[in-house]
């Protein structure tokens, strides 16, 4: 059993053990902690290397050729690291909840790890679906709303993501059929990649398939206008589920685009009509959702909508498709995952203690809970893109990556989009700073009192905040893992 297989299996085995009666908290914390160490170990092993490593393959079927193949390159390792960190934090911050909270967190995390670390299209797809199911069930069963309302929210997410998955499946099947040529069908990503290098498809066809994949992967990442499931789902979801889905699982769509769509269809994103459509959609994410977020009057709505908005920047990196922009996109995926998980975790804690998240009912919490305030500041400043925190590194690389071919006086559509998208940074600053001010500063609201978390409760949040600071000050830690991955 290779190390990657162990990483995928551990959370799933822990979930099984809990279901069979093992103590939920101990088993899940133990498994996720070991998992984090294993992922760090692979990252250290991979340090400075290039290409696909830790490969291991177990053939399942010969025709169509299907195997349980694992392997990781820099992108996979960065996302596995993100998953391991968020999973540990999400599980750690659970307090006084039934075992199903632990089991579902483990399944979502395990599914995400499986999707990021396997190299067979079949299993990449399958593991993502595995992770989606507990997400829906948890929103419907333990969401923070009246039963009828949370069920409606869960169904909306299910329908959007279910249809998105089907479109994605259609696109993947199309890819497999095109690249298998006259020989037998294969789902192996490496085989498909080498086939794509040898016999690239004509540009027009690449554009068509890319667009189908973009719609499929895009609706999983709440690409505008397929985004309306996301904000209510995150605002309603139980805290660990919101952390894991917005932080980790949503990145699957972006990972798929970078890992499957771009290498197999290198020209697909650059054909004019696809590029223009993508640019329009991502501007919708940044500008429209930015305005929506500014008008949110509750913290959970602000966070949920901001999470949709920030996806626009990552799509911008994918649209540019240059080496620098893609590296920026991966770093921003990591950074956004950590920061949004931190914010959702803290938001859940606030909701438990205060019973409300309305801005006009909150205020002055910094005097009660200084440590909590500092942690929240890390999350919100990272989200704005303050230099020194990871998000900044990602955003800057994406913006610069769009200007690698700059001719003075002539701006391409991409570059115009960047100029418009920069206003999104201003909007982020407006809504996050307003949220920060109205919650933590000003006169303390009457009747509200919040206790600072004790040290053991702070640990998961400190871990996430430290990650933001360390990788923000030293983004080369992440960049070094991606020497050749793109």
């Amino acid at each position: 059993m290779s190390v990657l297989e162990l990483i995928i299996a551990l959370p799933l085995l822990a979930a099984l053990a809990i279901w069979l009666g093992a103590p939920a908290r101990a088993a899940s914390l133990g498994a996720t902690f070991i998992n984090l160490i294993l992922v760090l170990y692979t990252a250290v092993q991979y340090w400075g290397k290039t290409g696909l490593a830790f490969t291991h393959s177990r053939p399942i079927l010969e025709n169509p050729s299907l195997s349980f193949a694992v392997g990781a390159d820099g992108i996979s390792i960065i996302l596995a690291l993100l998953t391991a960190l968020v999973m540990l934090a999400a599980i750690w911050q659970i307090e006084d909840r039934p075992p199903i909270f632990y089991v579902s967190s483990l399944l979502i995390g395990g599914g995400a790890l499986g999707a990021f670390l396997t190299t067979d299209v079949f299993f990449i797809y399958a593991f993502h679906e595995l992770a989606l199911i507990p997400t829906f069930l948890m929103i419907a069963l333990h969401g923070r709303a009246e039963p009828a309302q949370r069920k409606a929210v869960a169904w909306k997410a299910t329908i959007y993501l279910g249809v998105g998955s089907l479109v994605l499946l259609a696109g993947l099947v199309w890819l497999v059929l095109e690249f298998s040529g006259g020989s037998k069908l294969t789902f192996d990503l490496e085989a498909l990649r080498s086939q794509a290098k040898l016999n690239p498809l004509p540009d027009a066809k690449q554009a068509q398939i890319f667009f189908v994949l973009l719609l499929g992967f895009g609706s999983l990442v709440s690409l505008f206008p397929f985004h309306s499931w996301a904000a209510p789902a995150y605002a309603t979801a139980p805290t660990p589920v919101a952390m894991l889905h917005s932080g980790v699982l949503k990145k699957f769509g972006l990972y798929g685009l970078i890992r499957i769509a771009l290498p197999l269809l290198p020209q697909g994103a650059h054909v004019e009509w696809v590029q223009n459509a993508l640019l329009l959609m991502l501007l919708g994410n940044i500008l429209v959702m930015g305005l929506v977020t500014i008008h949110a009057s509750r913290l959970d709505n602000t966070l949920a909508n901001s999470s949709v908005m920030h996806m626009g920047y990552i799509f911008l990196g994918i649209a540019a498709g240059t080496e620098i922009a893609l590296k920026g996109a991966v770093i921003l995926m990591f950074a956004h995952g950590i920061s949004i998980a931190l914010l959702f975790g803290l938001c859940g804690r606030m909701r438990n203690q205060l019973g409300t998240l309305e801005y006009n009912k909150l205020g002055g919490l910094a005097t009660h809970a200084p440590a909590f305030t500092v942690l929240f500041a890390f999350g919100s400043f990272a989200s704005i893109g303050l230099p020194g925190l990871t998000n900044f590194a990602g955003e800057v690389l994406i913006f610069l990556g769009n200007f690698t071919e700059f001719k003075a006086g002539v701006l391409t559509n991409l570059q115009w989009t960047v100029i418009l998208a920069l206003w999104g940074v201003v909007m982020s600053a407006v809504y996050m700073l307003r949220a920060y001010r109205s919650i933590f500063h000003g006169s303390p609201a009457t009747g509200l009192f919040m206790i600072d978390p004790v040290f053991s409760q702070r640990v998961p949040f400190i871990m996430l905040a430290t990650t933001l600071l360390v990788t923000g000050c030293c983004p080369w830690l992440l960049l070094n893992l991606m020497k050749s991955a793109l």
Partner: protein
């Protein structure tokens, strides 16, 4: 011992049990049931060790009987489902006997054995006469089984509906066979394939005969527009019989369809492309007309009936896709694979329903509320079953659907594929609606639900099979890539 002897022995055992019950009325149902199960299990063991070539069959039967990998697969399949149904009957007996006239279940143990012998015989059929006789053996036994719970009005209604429509479809089938005989001058599949490859054969006559024959078989496998009987009959029949109908009878219909279509659509057949178009239309319709109404059902048993129709639709679509160079799974292989995955998930679903019924619960979705709290194990197993029926990746159900979709995409049948995808998407909705109901916490102040150790073991084993086949389908690969010689080559 030849495979044919095993089949004959099974039928004789069924008759013996029937007579035993008649002349020794004080025999316990447990003895009867266990004898039947033991007999079928013995037959399964003997089947694996008996010689597997057609030459081993007794001489007089060889012209009508063949033993290829497909036949052997379906024979094993028939035995497995029969054993499971017999066991399920025994498990549900305390509940079922309330609805029988004399409070006994005798024929419920002997008739499945006879049905099984019929299905095993059908799997080997080389000509339409054998098909017809075997099919009637199965169908007539089912007339009795469906109406077995005679004190229940639903069961009686189901029995009458099944009898009338079944008889009608039999008539249609015979009519089709007659036309085929008229067009080709033969009843054997090999002969039909040869005659259809001959341009001198009357195309209109052959096509009409084949279409009528397919309509007759369409009744048996519940293909649209001949699917109307399914929901009422499935809902009214005793749950073990429903499981048997849904898996056994369907598989029997599909093995005949596979054989007949191998003849109709062999290389150079003059009616091949028309039949293919017919299958694509019927298959798409069946998938949609099964799946869409299922979304609005409130009874889980009825929902499973509609879903069974849509599964028949996918199977028909699989039959429309013949082998191609880059996707060399034979359509018969895909159908066999699909049915092999369909068996554990459907039986597990009906087993759960039967167990709930035995605990005094209803069969509506609302009766599933809070199941996770009453019995977490049963809820988990039912979740696995429904997730697999929906076609969730990493379960057996996904692979079956994937092969069907790959076949359609490979041939470029985009219209049929979109219908299948819509049906599958609707499937996700109604299966997950039921799963969600199991985990809701409202109204959970109801007593816990218990079920016996053997039931746990069987249900657990079925769930395990679903999960293992979902990630490791290699054991079935021999079926998938069966190197069955083309009909013409013989």
């Amino acid at each position: 011992m030849s495979v044919f002897t095993i089949e004959a022995g099974l039928a004789i055992l069924g008759l013996v049990l029937l007579l035993l019950e008649a002349f020794k009325p004080d025999i316990s149902r447990r003895t009867l049931g266990l004898t039947a199960i033991a007999g079928a299990t013995l037959a399964l063991v003997l089947l694996t060790i008996a010689p597997h070539d057609s030459a081993s069959l007794p001489g007089f039967i060889q012209p009508w009987h063949q033993l290829d990998s497909l036949a052997l697969f379906y024979k094993g399949f028939a035995l497995v489902i029969t054993i499971l149904v017999l066991w399920l009957t025994l498990e549900c007996a305390p509940y079922l006997t309330r609805f029988t006239v004399d409070g006994k279940l005798a024929e419920m143990f002997s008739l499945p054995l006879i049905v099984c012998a019929g299905m095993m015989w059908m799997a080997s059929a080389r000509d339409l006469v054998t098909v017809f006789v075997a099919l009637e053996l199965v169908t007539v036994s089912f007339y009795v089984l469906v109406a077995f719970a005679r004190k229940s009005a639903f069961s009686l209604e189901a029995g009458v509906k099944y009898l009338i429509l079944g008889a009608l479809s039999t008539g249609v089938l015979v009519y089709g066979i007659a036309w085929i005989y008229g067009a080709t001058g033969t009843m054997s599949f090999d002969g039909i394939a040869k005659a259809l490859a001959n341009p001198a054969t009357s195309k209109t006559t052959a096509l009409f005969g084949a279409a009528v024959l397919l309509c007759g078989l369409g009744f048996k496998v519940a293909a649209a527009p001949f699917h109307m009987w399914v929901p009422d009959v499935y809902q009214g029949a005793p749950t073990p019989v429903t499981a048997f109908l849904s898996v056994g009878s369907k598989a029997a219909g599909f093995v005949v369809l596979t054989r007949a279509l191998d003849a109709f659509m062999a290389e150079g057949s003059i009616i091949g492309s028309e039949i293919q178009g017919f299958l694509l239309v019927i298959g798409s319709l069946t998938a949609l007309l099964g799946s869409l109404p299922a979304m609005f059902q409130t009874s889980v048993k009825r929902l499973l009936a509609y879903s069974s129709i849509s599964h028949a639709g996918y199977l028909l679509l699989a039959l429309a896709c013949r082998e191609s160079a880059r996707f060399d799974l034979s359509s018969g292989g895909v159908v066999a694979f699909y049915l092999a995955t369909y068996l554990p998930m459907t039986v597990l679903g009906f087993l759960g329903l039967g167990l709930m019924r035995a605990n005094g619960l209803g069969e509506d979705i609302k009766d599933f509320a809070g199941l996770a709290k009453r019995n977490p194990l049963l809820a988990l197993l039912m979740t696995i079953s429904f997730a697999s029926l929906a076609g969730l990746p990493l379960t057996a159900g996904f692979l079956g659907k994937l092969f069907v979709f790959l076949g359609l995409a490979d041939h470029g049948y985009w219209g049929a594929m979109s219908c299948a995808v819509i049906a599958a998407a609707a499937g996700f909705y109604y299966y997950f609606k039921t799963i969600l109901a199991m985990y809701t916490t409202e109204g959970t102040d109801v007593p816990a639900l218990t079920f016996s150790g053997p039931a746990k073991a069987v249900a657990g084993a079925l769930a395990l099979v679903i999960l293992i086949l979902g990630v490791y389908p290699k054991p079935l690969q021999s079926v998938l890539t069966s190197d069955r010689p083309a009909v013409l080559a013989k």
